[in-house]
């Protein structure tokens, strides 16, 4: 399908006069469709493309009264300042380690849970577990942060009580920098694992039941059928999601980090995006923080292309 529309589009490039006239006529006949498209086009143009033009302030010394085009060029000065700053490696390490930690734990769990759901017959039990595990997806970031802070409160938190009831000494989860990443990743797992199964369950419904019947006749156990039928069936979905996740390794969701950050855990909780927020919007260092943000998105794009290339070499399931 993708292919046919592509060749169709290339016919424009040849530009025979007759073909050009036909396209012109088609545009005229469908003018109402362009009106339907216009609001979305405009909103994306204004709020996504104009900021892309504004990215040039990363190479300038932006002064609000002079405007974007009136400010003086400074080349890579802001980037150099960032790379040479003492916090550069800390920020990079925190951003990467939180992402990889989250990926290592948060990526396989929805797959395992989806495979487990798939083995259970439809009924009350399955429906209940699904409804309950999907629900935390709808809890807002602020409430989630509030829950984390309350549950981990050293004097009265539920989780602290639980750990102490088991006979252990609970660490200071919120203020000890060594615990920040674990708290962040595990709370993400709690909130997102159930919802994450949906996409795999959709892929699993596409498995041909005939395969399972044949495998049962051959005496395959459930575990073997998962290993040799179900997992290969969802492998394309797994690959695509993995590529997309790799592409956002430096794009840690900063909304939750911002809420959980405090001066005591800063050394392990400060990531590139929270730094951009602080230096850009709180300290009004517009050009400098734009440069830091640009560095972040360039690395993200490079990672995405790189991982996609590697996957394309080794299997046929790549993004493009």
């Amino acid at each position: 399908m993708q292919k046919s529309t592509l060749t169709y589009d290339q016919s424009h490039l040849v530009l025979k006069p007759a073909a050009r006239r036909r396209t012109g006529k088609k545009i005229l006949r469908n003018w109402q469709l362009y009106i339907l498209l216009a609001p979305a086009f405009l909103s994306i143009f204004i709020f996504s493309y104009i900021p892309m033009y504004g990215v040039q302030i990363a190479f300038k010394n932006f002064i609000p009264v002079d405007g974007i085009s009136g400010s003086a060029w400074v080349g890579f000065a802001h980037f150099e300042r960032f790379f040479n700053s003492y916090y550069f490696w800390d920020l990079l390490w925190n951003t990467l380690s939180i992402s990889l930690y989250g990926l290592a734990i948060g990526f396989p769990l929805p797959i395992i849970l989806a495979l487990a759901f798939n083995e259970v017959k439809d009924g009350m039990f399955k429906r209940t577990v699904q409804t309950v595990t999907y629900a935390p997806h709808f809890i807002s970031m602020v409430v989630m942060a509030g829950m984390i802070i309350t549950f981990l409160s050293p004097s009265s938190g539920m989780i602290v009580h639980l750990i102490e009831a088991l006979g252990f000494h609970a660490p200071d989860f919120l203020t000890d920098p060594r615990w920040f990443k674990t708290v962040y990743v595990l709370s993400d797992v709690w909130q997102g694992t159930g919802w994450g199964t949906i996409i795999y369950l959709a892929a699993l419904t596409g498995v041909d039941p005939g395969l399972h019947e044949a495998a049962i006749l051959d005496g395959a156990s459930r575990l073997q059928r998962i290993r040799y039928i179900n997992i290969p069936a969802i492998l394309p979905t797994i690959t695509i999601l993995l590529i997309l996740n790799m592409g956002s390794l430096l794009g840690v969701g900063f909304e939750k980090i911002l809420l959980l950050q405090n001066p005591l855990n800063m050394e392990s909780s400060d990531v590139i995006s929270t730094f951009v927020y602080r230096s850009g919007l709180l300290d009004a260092q517009y050009s400098f923080s734009t440069a830091v943000g640009l560095f972040n998105s360039v690395v993200n794009a490079l990672l995405l292309v790189m991982v996609n290339q590697i996957v394309r070499r080794t299997s046929e399931n790549s993004l493009w």
């Binding site: 469908n30 339907l36 009265s156 998105s297």
Partner: protein, 301 residues
């Protein structure tokens, strides 16, 4: 259907473990929620000491009374409802027509338009240039700063376009054209009434987004009276600020409640329940639509 054959011993053991695993998942997700509901109506003394661990103990509605006495909660609730309703309507008015236009194969330049939209999924100007633009447009401290920049979500646009492509038969459009029906009439009188399920999915996705959004409100709004509920929650839950209403002691309750910290904890549980209840309460009834939305998205995604 395929389990008509008797399970082998090996498989029965596997299934037992499987049920155990799912039950564990259920417990891990459900327990904190039940705990919070119980804690919100229990005496904070028992909650703090750990004596209340599942069912309410020393029942009190003090937390809820304080939450409802706080004017910030009311204004936050009102603002959030306003932003959610207006915002979702703008989202739908922008997304649905565009998705339909993009689903039409006879739209010239369709692939160019798709590329125009898709690029923004991978590249963006970033936080600061976007902020400067919103500021330059004079939208700071108005509700439009929360609504207009996110008017079109590319992900939702693609989900919606996939729906129009797969669920609406092409013959319908051809027949309508044959009868001399314009594209506007076709979209508003034929396509939209046939698409109630995707409209519901879109309204839910966008609506929950507006309801839960705190970040753009935090950077764009400076006037307390315009704060949505999530920002008020941030003050109470994260910054731990108590207003005079929620934190005040009158002599009658001072004896019942031991310390300021205990009151604060009680208010927190109550405020979490009050703010999350509307979403969690309607969710089981709408779950079908949410799941449908993710599934349509995964076909193409």
């Amino acid at each position: 259907m395929i389990t008509a054959i008797r399970e082998t011993r090996r498989d029965r053991i596997f299934l037992a473990f499987n049920y155990l695993f799912l039950a564990l998942a259920l417990l891990i997700v459900a327990y904190p929620v039940i705990y919070m509901i119980s804690a919100s109506v229990s005496s904070p003394k028992f909650v703090a000491s750990g004596e209340m661990w599942l069912w309410p103990k020393g029942i009190t509605l003090e937390g809820y009374e304080r939450v409802f006495r706080d004017p910030r909660i009311w204004s936050g609730y009102g603002n959030t409802i306003l932003y959610t309703v207006v915002g979702t309507m703008v989202n739908l008015a922008v997304t649905l027509p565009a998705a339909y236009a993009l689903s039409r194969r006879d739209l010239s330049g369709r692939n160019l338009f798709m590329a125009f939209f898709m690029v923004t999924m991978f590249f963006s100007g970033g936080l600061v240039p976007t902020y400067l633009l919103v500021k330059g447009l004079g939208l700071v401290n108005s509700m439009w700063a929360l609504i207009l920049p996110g008017a079109t979500s590319i992900w939702n646009l693609i989900v919606c376009r996939t729906y129009f492509q797969t669920a609406i038969p092409k013959e319908l459009q051809e027949a309508a054209e044959m009868d001399g029906c314009s594209d506007f009439r076709l979209f508003f009188y034929i396509i939209l009434p046939l698409s109630t399920s995707i409209i519901a999915v879109m309204a839910l996705f966008y609506g929950v987004g507006h309801w839960n959004n705190y970040f753009s409100a935090m950077i764009y709004l400076s006037n307390d009276a315009k704060y949505p509920l999530q920002l008020i929650l941030r003050q109470i839950l994260v910054l731990q600020e108590m207003s005079s209403q929620t934190g005040a002691f009158d002599s009658s309750t001072a004896s019942a409640l031991n310390s300021r910290a205990e009151v604060a904890a009680l208010v927190k549980y109550a405020v979490i329940i009050v703010s999350t209840l509307p979403v969690i309460a309607v969710y089981p009834f709408l779950q079908r639509y949410f799941v449908q939305g993710v599934m349509i998205g995964s076909v193409k995604g």
